[in-house]
Symmetry: D2
Subunit: 366 residues, 4 copies
């Protein structure tokens, strides 16, 4: 602090005179004050504050990952930002318990006043989905209507505008595609990996066939499933099949990016891959927590209104529940586990590549 | 302590010499020690300890609720036991985070040694489901196999034997059916309630029809949904239709018990209904937390093994996810919210009944 | 909804256009934007939103407990409000983890701009302490200064004005003092209790004297401590000694109120005492969680600034840590455990009193 | 799985027939079964299982950090192990809420049977303290007795034997002391740092003197405190003063290790320091969570037994509370925040050193 800054007062800094005057109960306005409406307002406002923070972190991480090239220390920064987001998400989930201290009967004291307002209209939540990379045409439709059918025209424009921007999914995919280590001299990661996988799948088949606790029918069933797993692997080995699955909406991440993510996951013990691995794990954490939140939120709505229509006219909880699974942006990263092979079966890296993945300091010593 | 008890030593009391020697890594036995197998064992053992505690509380609550009549103070005791169970369930959910500190790659270091053991074989978890009241024939089948197809013969017998016992669902239903306050002199709860509901449903229909933000198609859709709600109400007003829905598996709780649960929910402010209401709410809490655990557990399995077959040969996470919704024992209690009506629309109780629902001390004063 | 209400929009209802524009980073204003200042602002705003909600619940509970007489169903309502407060408090504690994703080095990027603003200036937190019943003259002084020495004159007036109002401590004490069941006909609770206690203390002394694992010195020490316990009991049996201890600041709750709280704790299984017991337990929960928050907050401050002076000029964490213990408002309720006696030693209630503590419905049957 | 392993059964793998038969209630043995004793046993057993896991992780991390030199990828492994420990610690803290579902009155139903067993006798907890690096002679004494005065002779031997082993504190100190980057060519970290600090302290003094909200007395007080901060800095600049403070027990970490920890904290954005920084932060996390657990545990004991003597003869909660603060092993790492300087005031690293802290891959490109 080289020059003196004017003294600051806590209340002014946080704009509390404004912030703490944004809670106005409709039930009170209509002359019939319902105690629990205050909680309802404040819980939702707390959610919106946190959504703002998550968007702030997300935007910053997307920007860092959109540089070309991405600076190595920025990968660490992105990991920290994702960890912050996941800490916030835990709060988001736990806040549902606070809302559930309102009983369904208490909700009825003011529910009619809120019509047709609905959490479906949370612009920040929609932005959050968009910024992560949820695509408009893969969204579940609610009552045949587009997700932004019930927001104001200016909000609709804002959402559509944001759909044009680079998303976290896009940034990560692009960053993965540029990973330089898949080819190095004569080394081709995918060739080494394919050999290792084929030997592993052969072992898995033996495991099933020699399992004395399985009936013949069960064996048939499981060999069938193993066949499906081989299908997936097939796509990993064959860029064309991979692209076909992408067109069908069964995969989303590009073939190159998928290979890179796999390489990082398998060789994460190498210093230069350590943070990239934590970045991918952070995305899966975030995805899992968002999915958990969606599911828990659906349970809360179910409990609160049963099978009735929601305040915004939604039958609600069944729709919400199905988004938990269908709106996962980073599913392909979670599914990477399908393609892992045990460390002991992992092909060794060529020595020169191995050294490049280490620290300059060590290389120097060596 | 009137007579002296022999002095007790912490280690002996908790049988730690035995308890802390139950962790034996298969990977170590096979000469290839995998660090993370210790975590895998201890997490599962912690789960089993908690399952034992939950079963202990559950058995005790079922016993108290199976007395005839149920003693009023025992209702409070059952509420406390359910609260204990729900506190434990929060731990069960959070423990998944501990398990997720094991990465999918680390799991592969010892996964093959465990074949075909599987969490499907947790007898205590099966008992827990049975004691709650999950019925064998409403269970989802996994690969066409009964839920107890993969446990030892003696465990299978134990499970089948337990299916004969009184469950929490059964005890609650029976207790609800005996609630004495639905009829009192000329008062019939359901008649009063029906009048109030019909007026409320009329209002809801108006809300939809006058909603300027809905298109005509949406209105048709929502009126359709309201029609479904009226169907449910129909069943509440008509014991025969209720029984038909039960036969179809769409409802489970008897008509009489459902009415009683509704009465308790609506008039919970009366002293004698205060604990019964908290008991019903506690069951919904427990059901919601179990559902949340099932879902989170499925996400963890997905993350750990992707779409591969599980250690017990299960394709796993899809099956686990679907049990979250389909294995809810107390769904009818959650759905009660559908039938609530706002306090201002609630029919008043006859004065003599009102007094009976209060404390003797007050009645005396009055 | 008998008349139509104007349709409501989510964004307007929650005043999000205002709420989400209250985050203005000083570091940005001074041309040196620090990423983490946004988190710093939003975490503190989330705290303030929750403080508002806690105050809202607290005010309502105090009002209900200040009626004369307190309505029995309102005791249940107060229990629910306390449970809501404690659920919020868990969020308050967990939010510290979110703040701790900001590292001490990142805090330095904007800390100087905030001078001399400080959490010490949170008016709502001060109000919360005051409404609970923390007395101005028992507060720890920070640097010899009164707790309101660093707030604006109008805030100071507001705090002093609120010190005049009925507090939760005052309301509870007054409510306890009016408990009608301590005397009933010839029955005097304290006489029965005293006999039971004296027999229990005799047993405790034996336990120490016959403990083979204690050295003679240890026995002397423990008998000394038992003597101190007897001192406390002495005060419970002797209103004058109790009042003397209150004057010394060692006790706070009046003798009559303490006896009533003890009666409720010991006979909580009686229906009419069930909610009052949960009310007392709820106060202890709240007190414990506030104490935990204070302590955790102090640890966070310690971590963030080490032993440096705080943004408001406070050396901070040592002071904060000591308030955890010294600012407990309901310590006397926690200490009640000292005076409990095992159920088997509990004097039986006279039959007529026993019946008065039950429900009218049962009395009627009997 | 190249050769077939014998099929494994879940119950056998987890040794559940043994594990689930280790719960034997004393109250039942003495013919007076107390329901809540089961919870008491199982909670403590769950703690002991987790303690075993924490010790397992701790031992492994100490071993990795005791190699010479420490392998870079092992630093990442240690970070992961600490993160696992901290996830477990969160469970340990939350489990207290489960135990608190037992009321003080319910505890009295079986408390006498347990005498003189006590949590003080948990060998694993003592080992945990020892392995972390808590030194015998800095422990608070309880009733003038050594911490191992109440355990069996063979346990005492085990504890004393373990006091001789390398601890986490020792391993970290030794690892820090070997950090090679403090001197590089003509560069001396401490010289650069000293200049930067002196300029910062000068600014802090100005901040106090020009603070219009402080009275003259307050300024005197704060300048005094600033003086104390300068004292600490003095020690950082002067190895002899540092050693003198260590002898007085005011500091514990060696001068060289402290400088290295500071270097890592200040330059953590450099790739090679990224994991070391996370390791130090992980130790502070663990220390903070252990401290929080100690404090919360003390609150729970207070609530359960008031000011009475504990089952092991301890007056308990006051002692427990004071260990929270006094038994912090990594306090010097937490206090490092005192010595941080803002990024903009951070001296730049010489170019050649900067490059050595990066990845080989980048160096190669450059």
């Amino acid at each position: 602090m080289d020059k003196p800054y004017p003294p600051l007062y806590y209340t002014d800094y946080l704009q509390l005179d404004t912030l703490l005057n944004c809670q106005s109960r409709k039930s009170e306005e209509y002359g019939d004050p319902a105690h629990d409406e205050m909680l309802f307002i404040i819980v939702h406002q707390a959610y919106e504050l946190w959504f703002k923070q998550i968007l702030f972190e997300l935007d910053s991480a997307i920007a860092l990952l959109s540089k070309d090239p991405v600076r190595e220390q920025d990968v660490g920064t992105c990991v920290s930002r994702l960890q912050r987001i996941t800490e916030i998400q835990k709060i988001l989930i736990d806040q549902l318990r606070v809302l559930e201290t309102m009983t369904p009967l208490d909700f009825l004291d003011f529910r009619d006043y809120l019509f047709p307002a609905s959490g479906f209209q949370s612009i920040q939540f929609r932005l959050l989905e968009i910024r992560l990379g949820l695509e408009s045409d893969t969204r579940l439709r609610y009552n045949q209507a587009a997700y932004h059918s019930r927001v104001s025209p200016e909000h609709r424009d804002l959402l559509i505008e944001n759909e044009q921007k680079r998303t976290m999914f896009g940034a990560i995919e692009h960053w993965l595609e540029r990973t330089p280590f898949l080819e190095f001299g004569e080394y081709r990661f995918w060739d080494e990996y394919r050999v290792a996988v084929q030997s592993m799948l052969g072992r898995d088949r033996e495991v099933i066939e020699n399992n004395p606790t399985l009936s013949d029918d069960e064996k048939v069933q499981q060999v069938l499933e193993l066949g499906q797993t081989e299908e997936h692997f097939g796509a990993i080995f064959d860029p064309d099949r991979h692209d076909a699955l992408r067109k069908d909406g069964k995969l989303r991440l590009s073939h190159r990016a998928t290979l890179a993510a796999l390489f990082i996951s398998l060789y994460r013990d190498q210093p230069i891959l350590s943070m990239p691995y934590r970045l991918l794990a952070g995305l899966v954490d975030m995805d899992e927590l968002l999915t958990t939140w969606r599911y828990r939120h659906a349970l809360m709505v179910h409990r609160m209104i049963g099978t009735k229509i929601g305040t915004g006219g939604s039958s609600g909880y069944q729709y919400l529940k199905s988004t938990a699974e269908s709106h996962r942006v980073f599913r392909d990263l979670t599914n990477l586990s399908t393609f892992l092979i045990p460390r002991h079966a992992l092909p060794e890296l060529p020595d020169a590549l191995f050294r490049r993945l280490g620290f300059a300091h060590q290389a120097d010593i060596a």
